[in-house]
């Protein structure tokens, strides 16, 4: 499950190593978290390596540790349902994962906008308008968030 992140990190570092004859890096497959800062110092003294590539490696490092911090499908479900329950216009008894916001829970479109803003606040990124109008049930929201997290190299288990 973390294989995607680590493979990409190792590929980039292998490419960097080949470019600059830094043979020590070219044969590793797993980079322990604490090792990367010191190898960053070595890399940055060599010419021709972009800061951007180094930053991307450390970003992958962060994502690898964050995927254990609450972005599996269960955790996403839990967070989404908590946010929806805290929304005062929804009665918690009628709420299920498949309940439709407008038809079953009696929200109007303005309440729907406010609910999606609360979810944006919780997860930290913006949902564009065309996607927002399709998210009519909690299950739609959960599926959408999983896809978005995958796009950004989080992993949804």
């Amino acid at each position: 499950m973390l294989g995607i992140c680590r493979t990409k990190a190792s590929l980039t570092l292998q490419r960097l190593a080949k470019l600059n004859s830094f043979r020590a890096l070219s044969s590793f497959t797993v980079v322990p978290k604490f090792a990367l800062p010191s190898s960053n110092k070595h890399i940055s003294t060599l010419s021709g390596i972009s800061q951007h590539a180094i930053q991307r490696c450390s970003q992958w490092r962060c994502y690898a540790s964050a995927s254990s911090a609450g972005l599996s499908q269960d955790k996403i479900t839990e967070r989404v349902m908590t946010v929806i329950k805290l929304f005062e216009k929804i009665s918690a008894e009628k709420l299920t994962i498949e309940s439709h916001f407008m038809k079953e829970l009696g929200l109007d479109s303005l309440d729907h906008v406010e609910l999606l803003m609360a979810i944006e606040d919780e997860f930290g990124f913006e949902i564009p308008d065309q996607d927002a109008e399709k998210l009519n049930k909690p299950s739609d929201i959960i599926k959408y968030l999983c896809e978005k997290m995958e796009d950004r190299q989080y992993v949804c288990m």
Binding site: D108, S109, L110, V113, E114, M117, D129, E133
Partner: protein
């Protein structure tokens, strides 16, 4: 009076995206340091938008909806320009709407007509009820 479904639904989308834009504005509201607390003003923006949008949510005439959309857009632009979310209230002292025949009369209709576009929801001394 036939109204095309396409125009109603595209208006609906514009209204919802305006509401979304206002709520996003409230999230990042800078306030005026030393003068206005950002949290208070952000709360005002949210309640004001919620009240005004819900007041007019059952309108059906596209021309009226269009004028309310213009009202929302002008309030957004003014808030962004001056960094003040509150509308500038009109000052209509006695005699300002005088005509040669009626030197002292200030009618409710005259005052409503004198309101700028961004005050359309505040007619005749009417202030929206804050929930």
């Amino acid at each position: 009076m036939s109204v095309s479904a396409a125009s109603l639904s595209s208006q609906r989308q514009r209204v919802l995206s305006l509401y979304r834009q206002i709520l996003r504005l409230a999230r990042q509201w800078p306030g005026r340091p030393g003068v206005a607390d950002p949290a208070t003003e952000a709360a005002y923006i949210r309640t004001e938008a919620g009240t005004l949008f819900r007041q007019h949510k059952s309108l059906s005439d596209p021309a009226v909806i269009e004028s309310h959309i213009a009202e929302a857009e002008s309030r957004i632009n003014l808030a962004l320009h001056y960094n003040i979310p509150y509308p500038r209230m009109p000052n209509l002292p006695p005699g300002c709407l005088a005509t040669p025949g009626q030197p002292k009369r200030r009618t409710a209709r005259g005052m409503d007509d004198a309101l700028p576009a961004y005050m359309k929801s505040y007619k005749s001394g009417y202030a929206p009820k804050i929930k």
